[in-house]
Symmetry: C3
Subunit: 340 residues, 3 copies
Amino acid sequence: MANLKEIAELIGGRLQGNPACEIIGIQALNKANCDEIAFVAKEKESLDLSPIKAGALIVAADSRMHYPNLVYVADPRLAFAKLLEFFHPQQPFCTGIDASASISEKARIANHVRIGPFSYVGQNSQIGENTEIHAGVIIYRDVKIGRDCLIYSRVVIRENVEIGDRVIIHPGAVIGADGFGFGRTSEGAAVKVPQVGKVIIGTGCEIGANTCIDRSTIEETILAENVKLDNLVQIGHNVRIGKNTAISAQTGISGSTEIGAQVVMGGQVGVADHIHIADGVMVAAKSGVSGSIKKKMIVAGIPDQEIGAWRKSVVLLRNLGAWKEKLRQLEIKIKKAEEK
Amino acid sequence: MANLKEIAELIGGRLQGNPACEIIGIQALNKANCDEIAFVAKEKESLDLSPIKAGALIVAADSRMHYPNLVYVADPRLAFAKLLEFFHPQQPFCTGIDASASISEKARIANHVRIGPFSYVGQNSQIGENTEIHAGVIIYRDVKIGRDCLIYSRVVIRENVEIGDRVIIHPGAVIGADGFGFGRTSEGAAVKVPQVGKVIIGTGCEIGANTCIDRSTIEETILAENVKLDNLVQIGHNVRIGKNTAISAQTGISGSTEIGAQVVMGGQVGVADHIHIADGVMVAAKSGVSGSIKKKMIVAGIPDQEIGAWRKSVVLLRNLGAWKEKLRQLEIKIKKAEEK
Amino acid sequence: MANLKEIAELIGGRLQGNPACEIIGIQALNKANCDEIAFVAKEKESLDLSPIKAGALIVAADSRMHYPNLVYVADPRLAFAKLLEFFHPQQPFCTGIDASASISEKARIANHVRIGPFSYVGQNSQIGENTEIHAGVIIYRDVKIGRDCLIYSRVVIRENVEIGDRVIIHPGAVIGADGFGFGRTSEGAAVKVPQVGKVIIGTGCEIGANTCIDRSTIEETILAENVKLDNLVQIGHNVRIGKNTAISAQTGISGSTEIGAQVVMGGQVGVADHIHIADGVMVAAKSGVSGSIKKKMIVAGIPDQEIGAWRKSVVLLRNLGAWKEKLRQLEIKIKKAEEK
């Protein structure tokens, strides 16, 4: 609970209204009551506010909305995120190390680490200060995990993986499984190529539920700082991803591909192997990227095109029936003309 | 084991043949022996029965098939399902609560609940009567699970999730992981928006192996009664799915989308965020649904079209080469005509 | 550590250079130091070797490269795989059976089996000699696993599954979950059809992380010898896959489909149900295979076409805008001609 004066200070905003107004929580705009605060995204400013009952609204600094209590901030969404943390602080999963966890005597566990039931940490693995490991997490040998990480239940981290600070890994993710690398005998049988490379995950990364990041033959699969992966994503062996890149659910990146910084990918995208995607590229959902993209642009389609060209293609394709008819009419006319 | 008279009664069918014929099991049509029963789907009635050795066949009420022992029922597939349950009753995974399970003292476990080894139930969580929880299942705090549920091994259920009665969750599914919600700083770094909403799963739902259903920022992700999800499906935050809807493997539904009742989706479909799909819509496998679908229809393609239009597009596209040639011929003719 | 003479013998190669040269490890070509060996794939022979510092190179038998130490072999990639095994032998996860594992008294565990912490083996299940089962693996009742298998952490194997020798299953895979089989009541509610069939996995298969292989109603889902599945793959109920077939990440095979031997599929492919794909077929990434493919060929696209036809379609589609303009010009000319 906090009053509006305190809330405005917390989010670095300017208050217009009653500083003493008490707020007990945060809510979606259309559900908030008079003791709750909500936010209005910049693009939703034209909304009809008459049915809104929220005690206060967080709005953009240049908002022209009229409402009894308003808190003006540079970015309403970020302010909202901060208030969510304030009203719903992350609760520790457990205190200390659960008696049922299995920790190698040769593991190095820093202070204030919490480890839940049925979790395992192998020999020579290191867990940094204040990191929390939930239940049923399996950490192989020679793994390094930084401080302030949050490893949800049932994550598997294979040997030699390195994880930075403040990394969040959601349930069921698998980090460092063998890459899909095979030779072929002359009879065509696949022969496994051992995968002994590393996976390195930078500070501030977040890995979605049931997502897989593979280790490579001998080189490194690398996520730079602050990369965000959604659920059920596949990152092939030897892939490198630049900082602040965000990849949506069910997207797959094939082996040895390099993805720049600040890249944004929609869901169910497929990216071919051994290509390079420039910084700042955006890839629409369900696209198939088959070759390198050398400069910042937005692409879509299978295979991918610049999004404007792709949109034109879609429209042209939908008009094909009409054209076919036009073509047929022209043929008839010309045939008639010829017969004259 | 049962005789045909008993079997006909069990499935509410009409027997033509020998009521004393003993049946020891159920089999696929082409594999069944004389002491086994099989079924013939309505659309397969024209099949040659001469190689069939089954002791009896379950057929549609209006079937014209000739065979020594026939059991006529309204729906052969449903009758077959009932007989499968009769001949292969679900065996309990374990009895009572395994000594190695870790159950919070503050959890409320109803009567006749079975919990397997290495499963964990957090504080204030409730498990309803006769629910079975297999091995390695992690249930966080404040979870409500109804009665007669079947939670397979290695499922993770995060805090505050609510699950109705008779729900089946297959191995590896993750219910209530954080939605993929981020703000951006002015420098472009992604900033996590805390996800503190609920996931609510209705009575009779079934969730496939390694499927993920995300929690949202503050609102609710809801599956109504009897929704069926296949394996490796992604349900984004704040999605709502109407009753009896069935979604095939590897399909993904983006955040805040609302899907009606009785919807059927093929595999690897992608559905955009913040859209609405009407009751009864069918979506072909691999489609990309980019906008709302306002009435019951069948769609296919990326982006989606009404399926008839899509089929025409596919045919037109395949004939493009021929048209191009026609167009070229017309150009030549016209050029010649002009030169005259 | 080994000298080049020993290495040449190990990989059955012909050495040109200094047999006493000591090699301590294997590396990527551009990173190898003078005490490391690297390989040059046949297609990379034209590479500039001047910056290369490797102590020796493994090259194809007919290579024309010039370098101080060369080992000529039939297949550099396979020789490299062998050396990787030599320099990085698989280390045992654990010795014997961990005290925290839960093994049914009625399970049959052969000699030299290793089972890690928090793993469970149900009644009547058999584990063959020298098989290694990591942590948190759940093996239901009546499962048969052969010898020399490697089952990574958090794998789930449901009842009655049969697994051959030398099978590798990566973390999080789910073998034998229920197929997605439903009937419909006359009101449209889905009614579960019990799935009591088997899954059979042949000798030498490898199953990727978080991949799912479903059991069928009463028949068998079968992977023949040496099938290789990447991560997050979905194999529907009653599917059969021929030997040496390799399937990349996030691909899904629908129920009752039969896939031949030596088939190669890219990632994110979808294959329809109840179809047949011939031996040796190759399917490009992201394709949607909607009907049977009767002979060895390469296909691509949604729906799939022979890859040459597909490539032409893509080019034709990209030129549609130009054609539309041509068509418009012709119309104008003809209209003018008519007006004369």
